[in-house]
């Protein structure tokens, strides 16, 4: 055994090869399988949230529509494009690593980081708007939840009850709305929508922040030429994580921002 270990370096095998594996290919497949099993646990975690979201959306449909319509769809739309773009640059980084193109790999990883950071920046702007509108659930943060026109709650869609009672068409003409009491009740119930909005986008953003941290570590290793055609498993597995986070957003965007955006007539 000891003679084996002393002679091992002379065989010139890849430094990343762990000896419990038959060969590099088997090692890569084991890592990939492990990564997918981890992603399965992630599917279960987000899956629970999505299921709860669907049940309450069906039960309190009007309140979910009211809450959903009060968030800025342009920011959400732009952020979807940013995240899809970052998934593309990440796929390209894996491709560059596989082809042994170090500089391209570094550039694509940096682009992925830039787009990921831009996404979080937009998310911060959106959260700030909701903070100003008093749409943070609970009574702890800011002035507490208030969707019926509380003092100091500024912003275009802050007063959800008013919006429901006197809805306007795209041309600015007023159309028949709901009675005041019903409008106020729906506005109060929209707090539940915001619980899901913040829980789901918050958990998603947490994944992005962790992802950016791991990405910095991958970038450092790529810069030091640690990856090439023979070994790029960390880049590939991180790519799987990044794409998974992208997929979660692909569902979050229509479910949270686009419940019902049909203009009034």
């Amino acid at each position: 055994m000891s003679t084996n270990q002393t002679t091992a370096p002379a065989t010139g095998h890849h430094p990343a090869w762990a000896h419990q594996f038959e060969n590099m290919q088997q090692q890569k497949e084991a890592s990939s399988f492990g990564m997918w099993v981890f992603l399965l646990t992630e599917i279960m975690m987000f899956g629970g949230l999505f299921t709860a979201y669907m049940i309450y959306r069906i039960k309190f449909y009007d309140a979910f529509v009211a809450g959903s319509s009060s968030i800025n769809v342009q920011w959400g739309f732009g952020n979807t494009l940013v995240l899809i773009g970052s998934s593309f640059t990440m796929a390209m980084a894996v491709w560059a690593a596989h082809k042994g193109k170090r500089m391209q790999q570094v550039v694509y990883l940096v682009l992925t980081m830039v787009l990921g950071t831009a996404f979080l920046g937009v998310k911060a702007v959106e959260y700030k708007a909701k903070y100003d509108e008093c749409h943070i659930p609970g009574q702890v943060i800011g002035k507490g939840f208030n969707a019926t026109g509380g003092p100091g709650c500024s912003g275009e869609g802050a007063n959800i009850a008013e919006e429901l009672e006197h809805p306007k068409t795209l041309a600015g003409k007023e159309v028949a709305g709901k009675p005041r009491a019903a409008a106020e009740q729906i506005a109060r119930q929209s707090e539940l929508f915001f619980v899901f909005y913040f829980a789901m986008t918050g958990l998603h953003a947490t994944h992005m922040i962790i992802g950016l941290g791991v990405l910095a570590w991958i970038l450092r290793r790529a810069w030091k030429s640690e990856f090439g055609p023979a070994y790029y498993t960390p880049v590939e597995n991180f790519g799987l994580y990044w794409h998974f986070v992208d997929i979660v957003w692909i569902y979050l965007f229509p479910l949270l921002y686009l419940i019902n955006r049909i203009p009034h007539h």
Binding site: N23, M24, T51, A91
Partner: protein
Amino acid sequence: MSAENSRAAESSHPTPALYGLILAILVSGTALTYFAATWEMGIFNPIVALTIACTKATLVILYFMHVRYSNKLTIITVCAGFFWLLILISLSLSDYLTR
């Protein structure tokens, strides 16, 4: 050891052109899902939105995540994950929707 070379050659990768095409489809899908939400389709609004989302997710899984080019173990692992998700959502909803 000889098996290493033959199996490594098997695992092909998509080309940048294909990645570009997938990106274009994903961007179009995002635009489509936005415009679909502004049309009055009744019960079909959420169905259309989720169909587009599922199509986009499938493209990401097959091409960006290389599942189309992966071994059978990976494919069955991915399928098992989504099958579980389907059980969670369908059985939970079949309970709540029939109360």
